[in-house]
Structure formats: structure tokens, C-alpha cells
């Protein structure tokens, strides 16, 4: 287990170094930072001085090392677009994205898993068949089309819910939350539905497939033969084994939620990091793009690594990485 842990962490560090290298190359080779810092008619000598002051005359790997050292403290320089520190921009936007992703993740778990269990236990009922069909549609609809339809129905035609922004937010320290006001909560409804819909349908289909497989196994038959109640069989025995792969997929999809938040934030003009990133892509604003890349990759790597470690500690069959071939499993 310790060997697995160490190897997994080394792997994550390598991924982060590679991401940092991409970010560094973007800084180094997209536009010359010296041009933006010296007066227009600077002499070659003045340019060389600036170059030296910025450390651009050093070997590339030294510059790369410095870049990592600065990135580790959150220093990505100034945004080219509005000349403010990138770290401040991201910190301002982070709460909005975090709250949206959190609500969407909880929603997809709380709705997706029960629906999956229901469709697995009553696969031939009319409701289950309808849900199964709807989930196919849900998976095929492009997320931005879902968002537009939600706005069209609930904001334009019915006028029930707001279609843009976060509503009123309350500042708690540097964190601005929309959870504490009525308008903030109302503003969360449509974006979080749009963001969670894909994950929700995915979770539902996954739980259904896994559960149906588990229900066919011998130990469930044996539990039935022992005369255990349906309730005990379904929830104590079957569900537990169903949820192991579900946890993994959900963990990995959490990263997907952050990426898809880019689209949701554009549709609903949600003032989060994704919207900031899109603006940066549009303007070729390298510092913001690089910082977003590093931050999001860091979140991904942390999630992926912890899911792997969690998985290994839940399911002993996966720990055989160190000794002999893996047995069984899904």
C-alpha cells in the first residue's frame, strides 16, 4: 500500500510539472514580455537591461525553475487584459465556480443514485423505462442547448427564475456566497440543473448497470435463500457493492464538472473562473490562461489521486499492484 501511495504521488507530481512546463512555454514563447515593459523607442541596451532584470538571459531550465517557484506561491504576474494580478482575479472568481460545482455535484448524487437504484429494482416498470429513455436524451443533448432551453422555458416564457448572474451575494472574508440570500439561491437553480444534468444521467445509468449486475450474483441469491427481507438485500448487500465503482466515476467526473462549468458560466453569465478563462482565450491573455490551466490541473490531479487512493483502500483487490496479477474486479 505504501509503495502504491508513493508511486501514485510521484506520478501526480510529474503531471503537474508537465502542466507547469506547458504554462511556462506559453509565457515564454507567446509574445515577448520585454516589449510590453519597455518604452516604444528603447535602445537595444535598455532592452537587454530589462531582459537581465527579468532573468530572461538565464538558461531556460533556470527560468522554468523560477517559474515553478513563483507559481507555487500563486504568483502568475499581471493579466495582459486589465493589468491586475492574476491571482486576485482568480480568487475573486473562485467562490462563484466552487458553489456552482458543489451544488451540481450534490444534486447529481442525491437525484442520480436513487433514480439508478429505482430503475435497477423495477427495470420493466413504465416509470423506469421512461427514465431510461430520458437519460439517453439527456446524454445526447449538448449542454449549452439544455441551458438555452431552460432559460427559454423558465425565464423567458414562464418568468420564474433569473437567467443571468449570481443574484445578491454576501461577503464572508474574501469568499462571496450566494447561499445566504433568496435571490442568490434562486439564481443557482437553473445553472446547477444545466451543469448537473449530464453527470446525473451518467450516474443514474451507471448505478443501474452496476446494481443489476450485483443483483445477479450468487451471494444475493444466497441472501434471498436465507430469507432476508428485500430491503436488507437491496440496501445492505447489493447497494454497498454497487457504490464502489460509482465513487470512482463520480470523483473523476467532478473534474469534468469544473471544465463544463466554463460552458454553464457562459450561458448564464455566471461570474466564475470559467467565464474569466473564456475571455482570456478570446483575447490571448496568456497569464490568465496559464494560471487557470495550472489551478484546474492541480484540482484535477488532487481529485484523481485521492480517488485512486480511496479506491485502493476500499477495494483490497486493487492493492495487488505490488504483488502478482489483479484478480476479479469490474
Amino acid at each position: 500500500m505504501l509503495g502504491f501511495l508513493i508511486r501514485r504521488i510521484i506520478q501526480s507530481v510529474i503531471v503537474m510539472l508537465a502542466v507547469a512546463l506547458i504554462a511556462f512555454m506559453m509565457f515564454r514563447f507567446m509574445g515577448d514580455p520585454v516589449n510590453s515593459m519597455v518604452p516604444e523607442h528603447a535602445t537595444e541596451q535598455e532592452r537587454a537591461e530589462v531582459r537581465e532584470r527579468l532573468g530572461l538571459d538565464q538558461p531556460l531550465f533556470v527560468q522554468y525553475g523560477r517559474f515553478i517557484a513563483r507559481a507555487a506561491t500563486g504568483d502568475f504576474g499581471l493579466s495582459w487584459r486589465n493589468a491586475r494580478p492574476v491571482s486576485t482575479l482568480l480568487a475573486e472568481r473562485f467562490p462563484a465556480t466552487a458553489e456552482l460545482v458543489l451544488v451540481a455535484a450534490v444534486l447529481s448524487l442525491v437525484v442520480g443514485i436513487p433514480l439508478g437504484i429505482y430503475t435497477a429494482l423495477r427495470p420493466h416498470s413504465f416509470n423506469a423505462q421512461t427514465l431510461q429513455f430520458l437519460s439517453l436524451v439527456g446524454i445526447s443533448l449538448p449542454t449549452f442547448v439544455t441551458g438555452i432551453l431552460l432559460i427559454l422555458v423558465f425565464s423567458v416564457w414562464l418568468g420564474w427564475l433569473p437567467s443571468f448572474g449570481r443574484g445578491e451575494v454576501i461577503d464572508i472574508g474574501w469568499w462571496s456566497t450566494g447561499f445566504l440570500t433568496a435571490s442568490g439561491l434562486k439564481a443557482l437553480i437553473l445553472p446547477s440543473i444545466m451543469l448537473c444534468l449530464f453527470q446525473l444521467t451518467l450516474l443514474m445509468r451507471l448505478v443501474r448497470a452496476e446494481m443489476m449486475e450485483v443483483l445477479r450474483t450468487d451471494y444475493i441469491k444466497f441472501a434471498k435463500a436465507r430469507g432476508l427481507s428485500d430491503r436488507a438485500i437491496n440496501f445492505r448487500h447489493a447497494l454497498r457493492n454497487t457504490l464502489i465503482p460509482v465513487i470512482t466515476i463520480f470523483g473523476l467526473q467532478l473534474g469534468g464538472l469544473i471544465a463544463f462549468a466554463i460552458i454553464t458560466e457562459t450561458v448564464f453569465q455566471w461570474p466564475g473562473m470559467g467565464a474569466l478563462f473564456i475571455q482570456a482565450v478570446n483575447f490571448g491573455d496568456v497569464p490568465v490562461m496559464a494560471a487557470y490551466l495550472v489551478l484546474v490541473s492541480f484540482i484535477f490531479v488532487v481529485i484523481n489521486t485521492s480517488v485512486d487512493l480511496l479506491y485502493a483502500s476500499i477495494d483490497p483487490r486493487l492493492r495487488v499492484d505490488d504483488a502478482g496479477p489483479a484478480g476479479g474486479g469490474h
Partner: protein, 305 residues
């Protein structure tokens, strides 16, 4: 083609499975209609939406013909610049499919080459390619595509953004989607590498690249077709998403995604038709490609027979 080859094709397992699958039949009919519409867009369109001379502003914001106030000249209505929605969709569909096909080809070429190389050469080369593929795969495709797009925009001068948009898109989507091809091709290449015909080719003194491309490649192409089909749906969707986000095709050359973005801006004026019809076409296109891909995967999988 002689009659016997025709009947052989007709009697093949694949054709039999095709004739007996409702999903395959329906989705391929839909695809033929959509591809036809894209190819013959200039003939089928009632107006050239890019020709400003044909646009007359008093025809703007007309609803579809069956709604009160609509006109038979503009079947699906017009947008705020008096562009016919039906004609814009035809041209948009065309661009979406061009970007889709081109990026699928790019991804396949990159993926097949790297997969062959990794599987054939093995060792460090293989390890580096596959590690890189793993990392790429752990990031959501849309994020990678956005990043490539952003880098390209950063390198190009702003004046060329519009003209280069289509190439940037193809590059961004192609560079995102090659991993699946590489993994599959690598796997089958490793199997093929040990076979007798490869040894025979080696003994005959054929060079490494020669063996890779003219002997192994034809034998590992089967699954590539399935991946390419499913990939086309993904590529069209990614293109639409990027264009919707405003970093894809410009408004002067709108793809389906751009049309949806333009329509979205006027959602609150009650002009629903500008956004709904391109969305329907996009969904039908992606759904039929995906259903056909699913069918093809099952039909070519011997385990399911």
C-alpha cells in the same frame, strides 16, 4: 463491381445486421439527408445568407411560415439581420461537417501514426507516447481544445483570427481526440508485430517504416472505423461548443454552434426560432452519428453475435 461481389456485400454479416437494426436504418437515413443538405446547400438554400445584397432589413425577425406574420419565402423565419434561418442552417451544417470530418481525419492520422510507432518500436518511445496520452485523457476534451485554441489565438495576430478560425478549430479538435486511435492501434500493432508475415518482411530487408505502414497498418485499421464514427459526433459537438463559447467560427462564417450563439443573444426578444432550429439540427446530427457508431461497434464485435 460484379454481381457476385454485390451479393457478397449484401449477404455479409454487417449488411445483415444493418438491415435488421431499426436504429441503424433510421439514423443512416437521417445522416444521408443531413449530408445531402450540407453538400447541396447552395442549391437548396433560398438565399445566400453571406451576401449582404440579398438581405432586406424589412424582412428581419420574421417568424416561421406557420406562425402568424410568417412568410412562405422564409420557411423557418429570419434573424435580426434578415438572414433566412433555413438557408443559414444549410450553410452552417456544411461548415460544422467540414470541421468535423477534417478534425477526425487529423486525429486519426496523428493517432494511427503514434500508435503504430509506439506499438512497433516499443521501449522508451512507447512509454513516452502512452504517458502523454494518459495525461491528455485525464483532462476533459473541451478544456484541451480551448487551450489549443487559446494558444493559437495568442500566436496569431488578431487581424488573422477570423480567416484562420476554421484551421485553428480543426487543429484544436484534432489534437484533442487522437488518444483513442493511438491506444487501439498500439494494442493491435503489438499483437501483429510478433506474427510471421512481419518476420518474413523483416527477413526480406524491408525497412521499419515500410513494415509499419504497408504491412501492419492495413491489419489494424478495423477498429479505427468505429472510433472514427463515434469521434465524428464528438468532433461536431466540440466544434459547436467552441463556436457557441465565441472562440470558434466567427459570425461572418457561422457554423451551427455560431448560429446558436447568435440566436441566444436574442432569446429575450422572443425570437425563439433563430436559436431552436439550429439546435434541433445539431442534436439530430450528433444523435444519429452516435447511434450509428453504437450500432457499428456492436455489429463488429464478435462477442455479441
Amino acid at each position: 463491381m460484379s454481381t457476385s461481389t454485390l451479393s457478397r456485400v449484401w449477404d455479409s454479416d454487417l449488411a445483415w445486421s444493418f438491415r435488421h437494426s431499426k436504429t441503424a436504418l433510421i439514423s443512416s437515413v437521417l445522416l444521408v439527408v443531413l449530408f445531402g443538405a450540407a453538400i447541396f446547400a447552395p442549391q437548396l438554400a433560398t438565399q445566400n445568407p453571406f451576401n449582404i445584397a440579398e438581405l432586406e432589413l424589412w424582412n428581419s425577425e420574421l417568424p416561421p411560415f406557420w406562425v402568424e406574420g410568417g412568410s412562405r419565402d422564409f420557411l423557418l423565419g429570419t434573424d435580426v439581420q434578415a438572414r433566412d434561418v433555413y438557408s443559414s442552417i444549410l450553410y452552417g451544417l456544411r461548415l460544422s461537417l467540414i470541421v468535423g470530418f477534417a478534425s477526425v481525419i487529423l486525429a486519426a492520422v496523428i493517432g494511427i501514426s503514434l500508435g503504430l510507432l509506439g506499438g512497433f518500436v516499443g521501449g522508451t518511445v512507447d512509454a513516452v507516447i502512452m504517458r502523454f496520452a494518459d495525461v491528455l485523457l485525464s483532462f476533459p476534451a473541451i478544456l484541451v481544445a480551448l487551450l489549443v485554441n487559446g494558444i493559437a489565438r495568442g500566436i496569431l495576430p488578431p487581424s488573422q483570427h477570423q480567416d484562420a478560425a476554421i484551421y485553428v478549430l480543426i487543429l484544436a479538435i484534432g489534437l484533442t481526440n487522437w488518444v483513442q486511435y493511438a491506444r487501439t492501434v498500439r494494442g493491435s500493432t503489438m499483437v501483429e508485430r510478433g506474427k510471421e508475415y512481419v518476420q518474413a518482411a523483416r527477413i526480406n530487408g524491408i525497412s521499419g517504416p515500410g513494415i509499419m505502414f504497408s504491412h501492419i497498418m492495413p491489419n489494424v485499421m478495423g477498429p479505427v472505423l468505429v472510433i472514427a464514427t463515434i469521434n465524428l459526433g464528438m468532433a461536431v459537438l466540440t466544434e459547436a461548443t467552441l463556436s457557441f463559447l465565441g472562440v470558434g467560427m466567427p459570425a461572418t462564417q457561422p457554423s451551427l454552434g455560431t448560429l446558436i450563439r447568435i440566436g441566444n443573444e436574442y432569446l429575450f426578444s422572443g425570437i425563439w426560432w433563430v436559436v431552436i432550429f439550429p439546435s434541433i439540427v445539431l442534436v439530430v446530427l450528433v444523435l444519429s452519428v452516435n447511434l450509428l457508431g453504437d450500432w457499428l461497434r456492436d455489429a463488429l464485435n464478435p462477442k455479441l453475435r
